[in-house]
Structure formats: structure tokens, C-alpha cells
Symmetry: C2
Subunit: 413 residues, 2 copies
């Protein structure tokens, strides 16, 4: 098929798109922005709220804002706002720190929940997590995952006396054993866009008596996650991709309610204390998700994120998923139509059950191709060594954008 056939189809799909109106809530221009899986576009609700946070809350109220502007409770309040997007009941998510720091909390916390590891003597008296010989001393990590997860998991394993064992998600069921303390997996692979089977993998992990940790960076806000429903133990995610929280906006940590009383954070900062202003020398963790907090929350970035999350007020994540699949289906079809055979190869699985909200195309000279695409107003990104990544944010990407992106890509060859 060709342009005269694909363009009218795009128009028809856009006309029927029930999320089409959402685009007006974002600041966009005449480029096709397919990099929302790296940095989401700016929601129109954000600038005014940030200005208020700076000028009035900080500038005029100053220290009073910790109470009066709700700064102190922002991590859990904003966590509760993210919760429905990832299928979590309130009281299980706190926002703060980077994804990497939250991965560290989660992996160390998971080893301790599993009664695993062999932390050295010292200040551990009275804590859980000092197993006898033959205990759980292995952490499995998705070897294909975003590298920081592997680096941080290696550090967490080293510090808890565990061995880190890199595996692919497909290998997880076979690698699980009575030695497995925790398994860290990425819900959607950052490179290929492959969606992993969270319900089934979580069930396997539980059958082996281990603790599951899911990294939701590339799925939250793009598809239903179902943390509570599928029994996920711990999860982390960033907020600057499909949640549009802004550059480096704070990440979040989910601790399943049933685990909260035993969740033993390796970063027990004063913000996670049961009585933070008691300033007592002894540490007593706060109840609930609050024990995932660490230090003073980064208020300007937090409040930008809170404003950004308002766009979700009237949006169902199921509708987002439906549109996401339609967008990636249509993109793959347009690529097939416009791009000369053999010039690109999709790394993203075809089955919907295995696809996130991005398409990764392998292509010769991909770095240069992406630079030329960007010059032509089609913004994706390049990942070493030969991958073009295109992210599809259903809230602001339309089918006309998809058709144009594929058409311009076809003109590169």
C-alpha cells in the first residue's frame, strides 16, 4: 500500500480515537514526538503549578509550606495518585529518589523479606534477614534489562552476601530454586519494547518461595500493570516517561501491603521514621509505605509531577492500552508499506501480549538515520549499536503522526 491509501486510513483512525482530545492538554509542536518513552511531553497543567510552588509556596510561605502547602505528605499523596495507573490500592506507593535508588531499596528489602543473604555482624541485631547456612543467597536479574538495574542489583547482592545471577526472563522459571531470594525483572524491555508476562513470572517466583521485583519504567502509564491483582511483591518505576513528570522527576517504590510490616529498607532516612521530628537517636520505621521514604523530598520536581498526573483524571488505562496497540500495529503496517524490504527489521514482538508501547527497528547506520529523521521532524532515539526506538504515548500521539513517521522513515532509504 502507499500514501494515498495509508493517509485516509490514518485520518479515519484519528477521527474515531476517543483519546484524541487529550493531545490538547500537552505542549506540542509540528514535529512527531515519538520519544515519550524517554521524556514525556510537557502537560499544560505543569508550568502554572511550578510557578506557584516557587513564587508563593517557597517565596512567600517559605518554611510554613511544609505543612500549609502539603509538602511533607507529597511522597505518599502523589504515590496514591500513581497507584490506580499500576493497579495498586492506596497506601502502597511512595514517590521520591531516582529509579536506581529505589531498585537498591527494593533488592536489599527483598533479600531481607525472603530471609536471605548473609549480612555481616554489626548493627543487624533485631532485624530480619540473618539466615542460617543453606539459606537463600541468590538474586536473579534480567540480563537484558536496563543496565542500571543490573549494576544496582549487583551492589545489593554484594552488600547482602548474595550472588547475582543474570538470566533472560525466559530462563527465570528454570533458574528458580530454593536458593533464590529475589528476582528483579523489567516489565517492558527498554531496547526491544518486549512486554514480559508479569502474572505468570510472578507466580513462578512465588512458587519458588522468592520475592518478585518489577521495574515498571517502560510500562506504567502505557498499559495495565495489575500489581495488586497479580501479587507483585515490590515494584519501582520512573515518572518521566509515560507519566510525563518532567526531566529526572522522582521515581516511586511499591511495597505490597502484606510485606510492609517486615520491609526493612537499607536507606532508613529520617523521613521514614515513625516520628521524624522526634529526632531520636533510635530508628523506628514508620508504618506502611512511608518506610520507603528516605530524605527530604525534592519538592519542586514532586509538585511538577503531581500537576502532570492530573491529565489522568478522566482516562482509563485500558483505553490507553487499546490505543497503544492500535498505534504500534499501524506503525508496523506503515513501515511495511513505506520502507524498502530488508532496510529495517523489527525487534519488537508481533503478539500483543508481548508488546509494550514502543517499536524498535534494527537498521544499518541507525545513528545517522535517526539524526536525519530528527532533522525532518520525526523525533525518536538511537540506542547502541543499531536500534531506532520509537515510543508511542497514546495521550498525545495520533495515527496521522504514525503515518508521517513511517513515511519519512521510508524516504531515508
Amino acid at each position: 500500500m502507499s500514501e494515498p491509501e495509508m493517509r485516509p486510513r490514518a485520518e479515519k483512525l484519528d477521527a474515531a480515537d476517543e483519546l484524541a482530545g487529550m493531545r490538547a492538554q500537552f505542549v506540542l509542536d509540528d514535529t512527531v514526538y515519538l520519544d515519550g518513552n524517554s521524556l514525556g511531553a510537557l502537560p499544560r497543567s505543569v508550568p502554572g503549578r511550578v510557578e506557584d510552588a516557587v513564587r508563593r509556596q517557597w517565596g512567600s510561605l517559605r518554611i510554613r509550606s511544609w505543612d500549609e502547602s502539603g509538602w511533607w505528605t507529597a511522597p505518599e499523596r502523589i504515590g496514591d495518585r500513581i497507584a490506580p495507573l499500576v493497579g495498586a490500592a492506596p497506601g502502597q506507593i511512595v514517590v521520591g529518589d531516582s529509579t536506581s535508588v529505589n531498585v537498591f531499596k527494593a533488592v536489599v528489602g527483598a533479600v531481607r523479606l525472603a530471609g536471605g543473604g548473609s549480612e555481616g555482624p554489626g548493627d543487624g541485631e533485631g532485624h530480619a534477614g540473618r539466615p542460617g547456612p543453606g539459606g537463600r543467597d541468590e538474586v536473579l536479574v534480567d540480563a537484558t534489562t536496563f543496565p542500571t538495574d543490573g549494576y544496582i542489583a549487583a551492589s545489593a547482592a554484594r552488600l547482602t552476601g548474595c550472588t547475582l545471577r543474570p538470566v533472560t526472563p525466559d530462563e527465570v522459571p528454570g533458574a528458580l530454586s530454593e536458593r533464590t531470594a529475589a528476582v528483579l525483572l523489567n516489565h517492558v524491555d527498554y531496547r526491544t519494547g518486549r512486554l514480559h508476562d508479569l502474572p505468570s513470572l510472578t507466580a513462578s517466583i512465588h512458587a519458588a518461595g522468592a520475592i518478585s521485583i518489577w521495574d515498571l519504567c517502560h510500562s506504567a502509564g502505557a498499559l495495565p500493570v495489575g500489581l495488586d491483582e497479580h501479587g507483585v511483591d515490590l515494584a519501582v518505576g520512573c515518572t518521566y516517561k509515560y507519566l510525563n513528570g518532567g526531566p529526572g522527576s522522582p521515581a516511586y517504590l511499591y511495597v505490597r501491603e502484606a510485606h510492609q510490616p517486615r520491609f526493612d529498607s537499607p536507606l532508613p532516612g529520617w523521613n521514614s521514621h515513625a516520628d521524624p521530628f522526634g529526632m531520636t537517636p533510635d530508628y523506628t520505621p514508620a508504618p506502611g509505605a512511608l518506610r520507603g521514604r528516605v530524605g527530604t523530598p525534592d519538592i519542586l520536581s514532586m509538585l511538577a509531577l503531581e500537576a502532570a498526573l492530573e491529565v489522568w483524571d478522566d482516562v482509563s488505562i485500558d483505553a490507553v492500552r487499546t490505543k497503544s496497540l492500535a498505534l504500534t500495529d499501524f506503525f508496523l503496517e506503515c513501515v511495511e508499506s513505506y520502507v524498502p524490504g530488508g532496510a529495517v527489521e523489527s525487534l519488537t514482538p508481533s503478539p500483543h501480549t508481548q508488546r509494550g508501547s514502543q517499536v524498535a527497528l534494527r537498521c544499518a547506520d541507525a545513528g545517522n538515520v535517526m539524526r536525519r529523521l530528527i532533522d525532518r521532524g520525526v523525533i525518536g532515539d538511537f540506542r547502541e549499536p543499531d536500534v531506532l526506538r520509537f515510543g508511542f504515548t497514546p495521550l498525545y500521539v495520533g495515527f496521522g503522526d504514525v503515518e508521517r513517521a513511517a513515511r519519512v522513515l521510508g524516504e531515508m532509504f
Copy 2:
């Protein structure tokens, strides 16, 4: 002495104050803001810069800003801007994460630099820090310090197989031994405002073969620190007090240049990798201070901080210290004049060599007294159980403010 005598003195001191003009660079009102040791006032340079970061850098340039707006290099660039304020040459400070998270990096990093601890088996192959028996297995922490330092140091000790030993700073020289791996001290006590003797304590720590870590939260921006000059090994600090970076603005980590090649962070996120966009499964730390980075930097808060630091362009930290001591001296004198004998008792040492930039007064019913002071436009804060804290930020507090604060305090009794 009384009001007719103190007010003209305040006027005279204000007239002679070479930093008096700095006040115009901050957003202030007709209150006396003596809480800059908790949250610094808003510098006028900040709102426009934050607006530009949101609307243009994020809103229009989006992902391109990681390069074009200098987002990626912000942690080390802003670190270099803080460096002269704490007596550090460039290339030793990175900004990011909370103070608590940086304390964790520093304490674990220090134990490893000392060749101490007994981390379990696992992924530690090839790393330093696996001592034989009889090695350095003790971490000393200032028992009077801000509690988060103690909580986090306890966690770091537990994870590295060390014992945490709380001591007062005065007890440190006597407590040091060949078992000491690291010592974490607060430069200025958050509660009493006592300044500890950094040069002498650092020398004692070194004489014992241990690693020094200084928490500069209550000294940076208020007095000279001299990190390089005094041979400090590692340091951390927040930026929202005397550096006026905004609520929860990112903290920083100083790693002395000589230690950088062996600094082995417990939080080796992808931002600290030698080739972060290589996305390789193996971790290779970046050279220099960059290995103190962790995850994606929190850009909006970072850029607010960067703008806030511009006020220091033409200010010498020695001039700030001179004014700070004059302010606290004058405050103590005014309190003596205005407050009925016995109503308050200063917890802050009299000798200049032992005083930070705050005055802490013990007082009956201090919580209520502080509420009434705030109602009268004198903003300090209350710390359990009976302490009124008054912070003096030399950049925007004048001698007239000091006189008024003491006078209103006197009217409380």
C-alpha cells in the same frame, strides 16, 4: 541596655554592613526570617530560570535538552559551583540525591577505602574492601548529630559488616583505634549550633588510619569549610539551607581527588558509568567525582539550585563568616538586654571557634513561645523538647532584624 540604646546600634551596624546590598537579591517581606538554616529564602534569580527550564527546555526542546540545555552535565557543573564555597578545587563534588542517600554512599565508600568491613561473598570479586580478620570493623558516628546520619550510618555499618559506635565529637580522639574504618561527623550541630573542630578532628582520624566524613548541612554557605586544605576525605551536604536551593533541592557528595580512583559506591547507577549510553551489562565506573552520581538527575530542582548559586558570584565566604559572627554576637547581646534573666539559656557556645550561624535557646514551653513569635513576625523554629532555633543567613539578615527578633522575644515573658 534597652531599646533606645540597641536600635541605634543596629542601625549603625547595618550601615557599615558590606553585605547589606545582597538582601535585594532575595524575595523577603516584613517578617524577620531566621529559619534560613532550615529553608533558605527564594533568590530572585530562581523563578525566571525555573520557568525557562519548564517552558522552553522541557516544553519546546524536550529530549534535546539533555545535550543542548546542559542537563546531562548539571550534577558536576553545579558541584563545581559549590566547590569554592566549601574550599574544594573543581572536579570533586557532584550534586544529586538527598543528603541521606549521600551519607550512605559516603559511609559505605569510606569503609571500603579504609579496607574495612566484611562484606559477604557474592559480587565483590575484584573490588577493594575485603579485609582479613582483625581488620577495621568499626564506624564512629557523632551521637549528637542529625538523626538521619546515625540511622543511615547504622544501615551502612550493618551492610558492610561493621559495628556502629555512637560517640560525641569530643570523645572521637579517645575512641579511635586500629579498628576504626570511618568517622561521620557533623560540622555544625543542627540543634545547638555548635561548630566542631574540623581540622583537628580530621587530623586525629587520619592519625588513626581512618577515613573522615563530614556532614556540612549546617555550615556550607555560612562559614569557611576548607575541605581541601584540611585533608577531608569525604563530605556531604544539603543545598536548601544557607545555599538557598529550594525545598528539598539536591544534596552533594565530595570525594577527595586522591580517593576517587578507589571510591567504590554502593549505588553504582548508570549515570556513574564510564560510558552511560553504552548500556553494557558490565559496570565500569566513570573517572573522577562522576562516580558519585547514581540515576537520572532531577533537572528542575537542579536548575533552581544552579540559579540560586548565582548570588554567590561576588561574595566571599570570609565576609559571610565575619557578618555571621557579628549577627549572632549581637543577637546574644540583645537577648541579654531584652529577655528577663533566667527565661532562656543559650545552648550555643560563646567562643567564635565553636559557633555556627545559629543560636539555640532553651526555654520553658518553647513550642508555644515559637508559635507566638511567628504570629509576631519573627520566624525561627522549635526543636524537641525545649529549643528555640534562630538561624542567621548573612546574605539577607540584617542587624535591625536581629534587634527586633530579640525585642519581640523579650515581650514573650
